[in-house]
C-alpha cells in the first residue's frame, strides 16, 4: 500500500489547527507553549513530507526540519525562562494577568 502525501498534509493541518486552538484557548502559559510546539511540529512534518516526495527537495527538507527542531529547542528555553520570571513576580502562570502593557 502506498501512502499518498495528501494524508500526511492533512495530518499536519490537523496538528496545526490543534496547536493554534491550544494557543487561543489556554490560559496557562505552559499550555500556550505546548500549542506553539505543536504548530512548529506540524510545519516540520510538512518539510519532511515534501523532502520525501519531491526528489529535488530531499536534502533541503531534512535540513530545514533539523533547523526547526534546534530553533524550537531554543525558543522553548527562552519561553520557559520568561514563564519562570513571570511566575516569580505574579505567583501564577495565567497569561491574562500579563496585561500591564495594554492601552
Amino acid at each position: 500500500m502506498t501512502l499518498l502525501p495528501e494524508s500526511f498534509l492533512i495530518l499536519s493541518a490537523f496538528l496545526f489547527a490543534c496547536g493554534v486552538l491550544c494557543i487561543i484557548t489556554k490560559r496557562s502559559a505552559i499550555g500556550i507553549l505546548i500549542g506553539v510546539e505543536l504548530v512548529l511540529n506540524s510545519a516540520n512534518l510538512n518539510f519532511i513530507v515534501f523532502g520525501c516526495y519531491l526528489p529535488s527537495f530531499r536534502m533541503d527538507g531534512q535540513m530545514f526540519a533539523l533547523m526547526v527542531i534546534v530553533l524550537a529547542a531554543a525558543e522553548a528555553a527562552v519561553a520557559l525562562a520568561i514563564i519562570l520570571n513571570f511566575y516569580n513576580n505574579r505567583g501564577s502562570v495565567d497569561v491574562d494577568e500579563a496585561n500591564e502593557l495594554k492601552g
Binding site: V20, I23, I24, T25, I32, V95, D96, A98, N99, E100, L101, K102, G103
Partner: protein, 693 residues
C-alpha cells in the same frame, strides 16, 4: 622656519594676522581656567593685558618688516607680476562643490587665501601699529578695572573688574580687521566683516550694566546687519554669475557681466560698506558707539571697523559701475555735510569726534566715488593716525577728569595736562588740514581732484564741487572749538579742574608717538610737494588699471588750478580757525549762535533717530506686542483657530484624539492578539486565493 618666510615672504602678514587670534585663544583659555581654579577675592592679574599688548606689538613688528620687504621686492620684481604675486600671496582650496557624475555644471570652489599689494600692506601696518598703541594706552586707561570690586558710577553697581575680557575682545577685533585686509576673496572678507561686527558689539556693550551701553551695542549690531544683508546679496550675485568669490576672478569677469548684474553687485557691496563705515542712511550707530570705553572708540574710528567699509570700496573698485559710483558720491557727500553740521553743536567731547569721523568717512567715500582712488585711501590712512590720536587724547582727558565727558565742564586744562593738550592740538591741526600736517596731503589731494574733475568735465555737479570746501571749513571750526573748550581759557568747573591730573606715561607715550605720525606720516622730500609724498607714491602702485589713466588726466588738469585749490582749502581752514578763535575770545563758543530751529535740527541730529524710531522700531514693537497678547489668550478647546498657537494646538489635539482611539485596540490579552493574527492570516490567504484564481 626662515625658509618658510624667505620663500613666501607674504607669510609675514599671515603671521601678523594670526597673532591676535593666538592672543584671543590664549586669553579665553586662561580665563576659563581661572574661573575654575581661583577664588573670588584674588586681585585679577595684569598679565593678560601685557600679553595681548606684547602680541600686538609683535604683529606690528611683523607687518613693518613685511611692508619694507614688500617695497624692496616690488622694486626688483615689478616687471614680473607673476613671481611677485607668487611670493606675496597664497591660496588653498577649502570647499569643492559640484562636478559629480550626474552634475553637468562646472565645479566651483571656495578657496581661502591672501594676496598682498601696496594697499593692504600699508593698511595692515597701519592697523597693527595704531592697534598696538591703542592697546598700550588701554593698559593705563583700563587700570581701574583690575580690581575685584569695580564700582560703575553710571549704572550704580559693584562688579568684578574685567580687564582681561577687554583685551580678549580687542584681540578678536584686531584679528577680524586684519582678516578683512589680507583676504583675496569676498568670502573671507565676509567672515572678517561679521567678526568685526560681533566684536564691536561686545566692546560697545562693554559696560553691559548700563542701559545706554547695551542699547548702543544692539543698535550698532542691528544697523550693521542691515548693511550685511546687502553684502550677502552681493555674495550671492558673485556666486551665481561668476561662480567664484576670488577677487582676481571677479575683476577678470566684471567687464563681461551685464549692467543689471554689476549694478546689483555694486549696490550690495555698497550697502555693506555703508553699514560698516556709517554712511547715510545707516550712520546712526556710530555716535551711539561712544558708550564703549574710549580706547574702543579709538579702535573703531581709526583702525578697525569703519575703515573696513572704505577699504572694501577701494579694494573692489573695479567691480563698481558708474551708476554705483554716483550713488557713492552723493551718499558720501550727504554724510559728510550732515555730520559736520551736527558736530558743530555737540558738547560731548567724544560725540564731536564721532561726528567728525562720520564726516571724514563721507569725505573718503565721496573721493572714491569720484574716482580719486589714491586720494581717498590716502585720507583713510592719514585719518587713522590723527583720529586715533584725537580719541586717545580725549580718553586721556576723560581719564584725568574722572570720567567727565561734557565740554561745558572743562576749560583751561592745558596747564594741568600739557602733553595731552599739545598732542591733541597736533591732531586738530592735522584734521583741519593745516599745511605739512598729514591731513593736509590727503585733503589737498581730494580737493584738487574735485576741482580738476570739475574743470575737465564741466561743473555738472556743483554740489560736489562746493560741499567739500564747506566741510573742510566746518571741520576746522568744530575741531578748534573742541580744543578751545577743553584746554584753553579759564576753567568752567573749578572742582573738576582742581582734581584734574596728567595721565601716566603709559598713556602719554602712545599720544606722543601718534602725534609724531600725525605730522609726518605722509612726508616725502621735499615735504611741501604732495606728489613727492612716499605714501602717495606707494599707494599709487596699487591703483586699479582703468582708474589710474582717468585720474592721471584729471590730475594734469588740476595742476592748472593748483594754487587756487590750495588757497581755497587754506582759506576754509583758516576761516574755521578764525571763527572758533573769535568766538572763544568773546566766550560764546558754547552757544551756537545759530537760529533756534537750526540749532534744534542739529542737536537732534536731523531727526534720523526719531524718524527710524517712528517708522521701524515702534511698529516692530507694536507687532510684537500684539502677537504676544494674541499668543497669551487661553485656548484650551481644540480647533479654535485664532492664532499661531491655536493652529499648532489643533494639530496636536487631532493627533492626541487619534491616538486615544487607537489605544483601545491594545487590550493586553494574548488571545485577542492571536485571534487578530488568525483573522489576518485568513484574510490574507483569501486575498491570495482570489488573486491566483
Amino acid at each position: 622656519m626662515p625658509e618658510l618666510i624667505t620663500e613666501v615672504p607674504g607669510r609675514l602678514f599671515l603671521i601678523a594676522t594670526t597673532l591676535p587670534l593666538l592672543s584671543f585663544a590664549v586669553l579665553i583659555w586662561i580665563g576659563f581656567l581661572n574661573r575654575q581654579v581661583t577664588k573670588e577675592s584674588r586681585i585679577p592679574s595684569p598679565l593678560p593685558g601685557y600679553f595681548a599688548t606684547f602680541i600686538m606689538m609683535l604683529a606690528a613688528g611683523c607687518s613693518i618688516v613685511g611692508l619694507s620687504w614688500y617695497l624692496q621686492d616690488f622694486e626688483q620684481l615689478h616687471d614680473q607680476p607673476q613671481s611677485l604675486s607668487a611670493r606675496w600671496g597664497e591660496r588653498a582650496s577649502w570647499l569643492h562643490i559640484g562636478a559629480w557624475k550626474a552634475d553637468t555644471r562646472h565645479a566651483r570652489e571656495i578657496s581661502l587665501g591672501y594676496a598682498i599689494d601696496h594697499l593692504n600692506a600699508l593698511m595692515v601696518t597701519m592697523v597693527t601699529v595704531v592697534g598696538s598703541l591703542i592697546f598700550l594706552f588701554s593698559l593705563g586707561y583700563m587700570k581701574d578695572e583690575r580690581t575685584t570690586d569695580y564700582h560703575d558710577h553710571q549704572a550704580h553697581v559693584h562688579r568684578k573688574g574685567r580687564q582681561g575680557r577687554f583685551f580678549l575682545y580687542l584681540s578678536l577685533f584686531a584679528f577680524a580687521m586684519l582678516t578683512i585686509l589680507i583676504a583675496d576673496n569676498l568670502f573671507q572678507i565676509f567672515i572678517g566683516w561679521e567678526l568685526v561686527g560681533v566684536s564691536s558689539f561686545f566692546l560697545i556693550g562693554f559696560y553691559t550694566e548700563r542701559h545706554s551701553a547695551s542699547t548702543a551695542a544692539n543698535k550698532a549690531f542691528i544697523m550693521n546687519r542691515i548693511g550685511d544683508a546687502g553684502f550677502l546679496i552681493a555674495l550671492a550675485v558673485a556666486w551665481s554669475h561668476v561662480g567664484s568669490f576670488n577677487l582676481d576672478q571677479l575683476f577678470a569677469k566684471a567687464p563681461t557681466l551685464s549692467n543689471e548684474v554689476l549694478w546689483l553687485l555694486g549696490i550690495g557691496l555698497l550697502c555693506g560698506c555703508a553699514g560698516k563705515s556709517a554712511q547715510v542712511p545707516l550712520q546712526t550707530w556710530l555716535p551711539d558707539a561712544m558708550e564703549g570705553p574710549t580706547p574702543v572708540s579709538a579702535l573703531i574710528h581709526a583702525a578697525t571697523m569703519v575703515a573696513a567699509g572704505v577699504y572694501l570700496v577701494g579694494r573692489a573698485a573695479s567691480l563698481l559701475s558708474p551708476e554705483v559710483l554716483i550713488v557713492i558720491v552723493y551718499m558720501g557727500a550727504i554724510t559728510m555735510i550732515l555730520s559736520a553740521l551736527i558736530a558743530v553743536v555737540q558738547t560731548d567731547i567724544k560725540r564731536v569726534l564721532a561726528y567728525s569721523t562720520c564726516s571724514q568717512l563721507g569725505f573718503m567715500m565721496m573721493a572714491l566715488g569720484l574716482g580719486a582712488w589714491t586720494a581717498g585711501l590716502l585720507h583713510l590712512l592719514t585719518h587713522a593716525f590723527f583720529k586715533a590720536l584725537l580719541f586717545l587724547a580725549a580718553g586721556s582727558v576723560i581719564h584725568g577728569l574722572h570720567h567727565e565727558q561734557d565740554l561745558s565742564r572743562m576749560g583751561g586744562l592745558r596747564t594741568k595736562m600739557p602733553i595731552t593738550a599739545y598732542t591733541m592740538l597736533i591732531g586738530v591741526l592735522a584734521i583741519a588740514g593745516m599745511p605739512l600736517f598729514s591731513g593736509w596731503y590727503s585733503k589737498e589731494m581730494i580737493l584738487s581732484f574735485v576741482v580738476g574733475q570739475a574743470a575737465l568735465d564741466g561743473v555738472s555737479r556743483p554740489l560736489v564741487l562746493f560741499l567739500p570746501f564747506l566741510t573742510a571749513g566746518l571741520t576746522s571750526f568744530y575741531m578748534f572749538r573742541l580744543w578751545f573748550l577743553a584746554f584753553a581759557g579759564s576753567p568752567r568747573d573749578e572742582h573738576r579742574y582742581q582734581s584734574a591730573h596728567e595721565s601716566p606715561w603709559i598713556m602719554t607715550v602712545p599720544l606722543l608717538l601718534l602725534a609724531l605720525a600725525s605730522v609726518g606720516i605722509a612726508w616725502g622730500w621735499p615735504p611741501g610737494s604732495i606728489e613727492k609724498s612716499l605714501l602717495v607714491q606707494c599707494l599709487h602702485h596699487a591703483e586699479p588699471e582703468g582708474w589710474s589713466s582717468r585720474s592721471e588726466a584729471i590730475h594734469l588738469k588740476s595742476e592748472e588750478y593748483h594754487w587756487l585749490t590750495t588757497a581755497f582749502a587754506l582759506a576754509a581752514a583758516l576761516i574755521g580757525f578764525g571763527l572758533a578763535l573769535s568766538r572763544h575770545r568773546s566766550g560764546k563758543l558754547l552757544q551756537s549762535g545759530l537760529p533756534t530751529w537750526l540749532n534744534r535740527l542739529f542737536r537732534n541730529t536731523f531727526y534720523f533717530d526719531s524718524i527710524y524710531n517712528r517708522i521701524f522700531t515702534r511698529p516692530t514693537i507694536l507687532i510684537a506686542q500684539s502677537s504676544a497678547t494674541l499668543d497669551k489668550q487661553k485656548e484650551s478647546e481644540p480647533f479654535q483657530i485664532r492664532s499661531v498657537d491655536g493652529i499648532m494646538n489643533s494639530v496636536s489635539d487631532m493627533v492626541i484624539a487619534l491616538g486615544s482611539g487607537v489605544r483601545r485596540l491594545q487590550t493586553g490579552h494574548l488571545r485577542t492578539y492571536i485571534l487578530a493574527l488568525g483573522l489576518t492570516l485568513i484574510a490574507g490567504l483569501g486575498i491570495l486565493y482570489r488573486i491566483t484564481r
